[in-house]
């Protein structure tokens, strides 16, 4: 048995660990600890060694150097059965054995606890039921494994791991090939295991946003080692991820928690006046079509500002909660000049951004086409007679159509 006094903070630890196959190290010099109840997400490009690391931590692969300890004892000194009673794994392999029900499969998880012939006793039944219930798969118990969907199967595999009554669960890409519903379900279950059962979870993930949202700790695995290990809010930055994945065409926005593809401008510039999130979709749509984005005047940390930033737009900004400054207005006017059109995202008007309305008026006055997502009624109310010069669009698709027409016209002219 594991030492119950083993420090909860050092449930799973590795020291100067090198992992790899056939004495060729993929990762080396790894030293970290995982505490009980902690959710660790391993991020990194394919082939970086996440799976190799997980297999080594699980004792499936001998370390090339260094040591892994489980519950305070060296993994190398434990028998497979001892390890199995403390640590369970969920691997990427989804081989579904035929002629096995979900419940049979969960019973297999009782292997380290049953006797010589593997007889299932009342306690084993209870545990298996508990595990299935915990992953919300109680209704799958009778179903044959080879008739389950990927997502259902993954939940059953998770229940099987739980039936081992482990204190640590290692998962290799648990959300791979799952649809949105099951991806969220599986991740929710994992977090629940950490919070409610005090189980330490180490999972390799390919969704950076999931890691950011759910993990207590992220480990960035790549370039032969772990480049960062800590709270995702701290470790997941545009720079760290760009380095980890070798990104050139995309940029991570830690605030938004998403990857944005950097626009590849091939068309004329367009100036978007937006704010408060009204322009995010519009900006992405224009970027996708290859228009060079200019935007302003945006308050820093405004959602539209973050999106525009991650899309690589040229921006005119000003401090939050401040009305439009003269300087910013002038910069915006200069940026607008030479644009194919100016687009009004239909942003909500407040005291701080009323200046942006003037910006649009100015644009119309200098003869630039102004496309607006506001209704004609609203425009009439806001602008009175001037509204006639503005072109109303129902949605971003119409804006795109107009822009493409303008673009053709200008290239013909």
């Amino acid at each position: 048995m594991m030492n119950p006094d083993a420090s909860q903070a050092n449930l799973l630890a590795f020291h100067q660990l090198a992992v790899g196959y056939d004495s060729r190290a993929v990762l080396s010099g790894l030293t970290q600890t995982v505490a009980a109840g902690q959710f660790v997400a391993l991020l990194g490009p394919n082939g970086a060694g996440k799976t190799t690391l997980l297999r080594t931590l699980a004792g499936l692969l001998p370390p090339l150097a260094g040591e892994v300890s489980l519950g305070g004892r060296a993994l190398a000194g434990l028998t497979p059965a001892e390890i199995a009673r403390t640590l369970a794994v969920v691997l990427t392999e989804r081989h579904a054995p035929a002629m096995l029900s979900a419940l049979d499969l969960v019973y297999l998880g009782r292997t380290p606890h049953t006797g010589f012939l593997g007889r299932i006793g009342p306690q084993d039944r209870e545990r298996a039921a508990w595990a299935l219930e915990l992953v919300g798969a109680g209704d799958l118990a009778r179903r044959p494994m080879d008739q389950l969907s990927d997502g259902e199967r993954q939940k059953v595999m998770l229940a099987r791991a739980l039936a081992q009554e482990p204190r640590v669960i290692l998962l290799d890409e648990p959300t791979l090939h799952l649809d949105v519903k099951h991806r969220l379900e599986v991740m929710t279950i994992l977090r629940r295991l950490c919070r409610q059962q005090g189980i330490a979870v180490v999972a390799s993930l390919h969704d950076v946003d999931l890691a950011l949202r759910l993990a207590d700790v992220v480990g960035l695995v790549g370039r032969g080692g772990i480049s960062a290990w800590g709270a995702p809010e701290k470790e997941l930055t545009a720079a760290s991820l760009a380095a980890l994945y070798g990104l050139e065409q995309a940029r991570f926005s830690p605030h938004l928690g998403v990857m944005e593809l950097t626009a590849e401008p091939g068309r004329e510039p367009v100036f978007v006046v937006c704010g408060g999130g009204s322009g995010a979709g519009l900006l992405r749509a224009l970027a996708k079509q290859g228009f060079a984005l200019k935007t302003g005047v945006l308050h820093e940390h405004d959602l539209d500002c973050l999106v525009a930033q991650s899309l690589g737009a040229q921006m005119v900004t000003q401090a939050p909660f401040q009305p439009l400054a003269e300087e910013a207005f002038r910069l915006a006017c200069r940026a607008m000049a030479g644009c194919l059109a100016v687009v009004d995202s239909g942003f909500p008007l407040g005291d701080e951004n009323r200046g942006n309305l003037n910006l649009l008026r100015q644009a119309a006055a200098t003869g630039l086409p102004v496309l607006s997502l506001r209704s004609p009624e609203e425009l009439a109310r806001m602008l009175g007679d001037d509204a006639a010069a503005w072109r109303c669009c129902l949605d971003s698709t119409q804006v795109l159509d107009q822009m493409l027409q303008l673009g053709t016209a200008s290239s013909l002219g």
């Binding site: 499969l105 219930e133 209704d139 118990a141 009778r142």
Partner: protein, 349 residues
């Protein structure tokens, strides 16, 4: 109360009940098949006479000798041989997670063939005449055990089952190559005997030999049952098995040892018998409806025994007194049955 709290064991109990039925049916079939084999043959022996001969015990009456020394050993040898081959195939199918693997995939029969070819096709046998009548059996035993030791030796070093499978196949090809060389240069008269041996048959077992087969085979089968728990863990593959507490390295050697030893035992005494080890595990699995090896192992052993005894009956009755090759009968019977069962199951999915 949630549904899951009622469920545990339900499915298991269901297949256990089904297994109970199947075992009963199979045991009855075993008895029927044995009686049929005892009562049927070139010599016309009626049922009442058969009962009398059996009750009288063995004596010097030629008819008694036919029942006691020819029919009974043959039926029991087929029963045991079929059980051993079926279990051997089941072990390898689970271990390699490959449904088309049979007991001879790792070169057991090739090894046996090579040694038998050496003693039957060369002049080597002239110096070994003292070993008769066990010469061929001993040669086959040496060959299959040689192949077994080689494969187990490799299994101890291997990390992946697939590599072992390929190496086993290659060893098979190599030994077959040597055998075919011996065949190419052999005299026609000697070749006849070797061809006969390579067809495989449960004919001609002597009691002492049968006792050895039953004792060794029985112990191996009991030993295999002891592996059923880790074998179940292997349904999910080596990695999962190890993560669930199975000492994979030891277990791999045990599986290969037991499987090859079972196949070697049969091959040494009966020659290579095709298809039983490949088809019967499927029949057992599909009729039982579970992959749980604790239920499957006895079912496979019983099914293998029944099928082999019946096939042997067909083989010697079809063109009696001419013997039809047993492997031809097993293949003719086994292949369509497997195809049928597979199709039926596919349709049910």
């Amino acid at each position: 109360m949630s549904e899951a709290m009622i469920l545990p064991g339900a499915y298991f109990a269901q297949s256990s009940r089904r297994a109970g039925w199947l075992y009963t049916v199979l045991v009855v079939l075993v008895l029927v098949a044995l009686v049929l084999n005892l009562g049927h043959g070139s010599l016309d022996i009626g049922w009442s006479e058969l009962v009398r001969l059996l009750l009288d015990g063995p004596n010097d009456d030629p008819r008694s000798l036919v029942v006691w020394n020819i029919r009974l050993p043959r039926a029991l040898a087929a029963l045991w041989g079929g059980a051993c081959l079926a279990v051997s195939g089941l072990l390898l199918q689970v271990y390699f997670r490959n449904p088309i693997v049979g007991p001879f995939i790792l070169g057991i029969s090739s090894g046996a063939s090579l040694m038998v070819a050496l003693v039957m096709l060369t002049t080597l046998s002239l110096g070994l005449a003292a070993l008769s009548p066990y010469l061929v059996t001993l040669a086959a035993f040496a060959g299959s055990v040689g192949a077994l030791l080689l494969v187990v030796g490799i299994a101890r070093r291997m990390r992946q089952g697939v590599v072992l499978l390929i190496i086993g196949l290659m060893i098979g090809y190599l030994t077959s190559a040597v055998t075919s060389l011996l065949v190419a240069f052999a005299e026609a008269e000697r070749l006849k005997g070797f061809t006969l041996w390579s067809l495989g048959s449960f004919s001609g077992y002597r009691w002492q030999e049968l006792q050895m087969v039953m004792l060794l085979g029985g112990s191996l089968l009991v030993g295999v049952y002891g592996l059923s728990k880790p074998l179940n863990a292997f349904l999910l593959g080596e990695d999962y098995a190890q993560s669930m507490g199975v000492n994979v390295r030891t277990f791999r050697v045990l599986i290969i040892f037991f499987s090859c030893a079972l196949a070697a035992l049969v091959t040494a005494t009966a020659g290579p018998v095709a298809f039983i080890g490949l088809a019967v595990p499927h029949m057992a699995r599909l009729s039982l409806g579970t992959a749980d090896n604790r239920l499957l192992l006895p079912a496979a052993a019983l099914t293998g025994g029944v099928i082999t005894v019946l096939c042997d009956l067909v083989a010697r009755s079809l063109f009696a007194p001419v013997e039809t090759p047993l492997s031809a009968v097993t293949s003719f019977l086994g292949a369509p049955v497997v195809i049928l069962l597979m199709l039926k199951r596919k349709a049910a999915l």
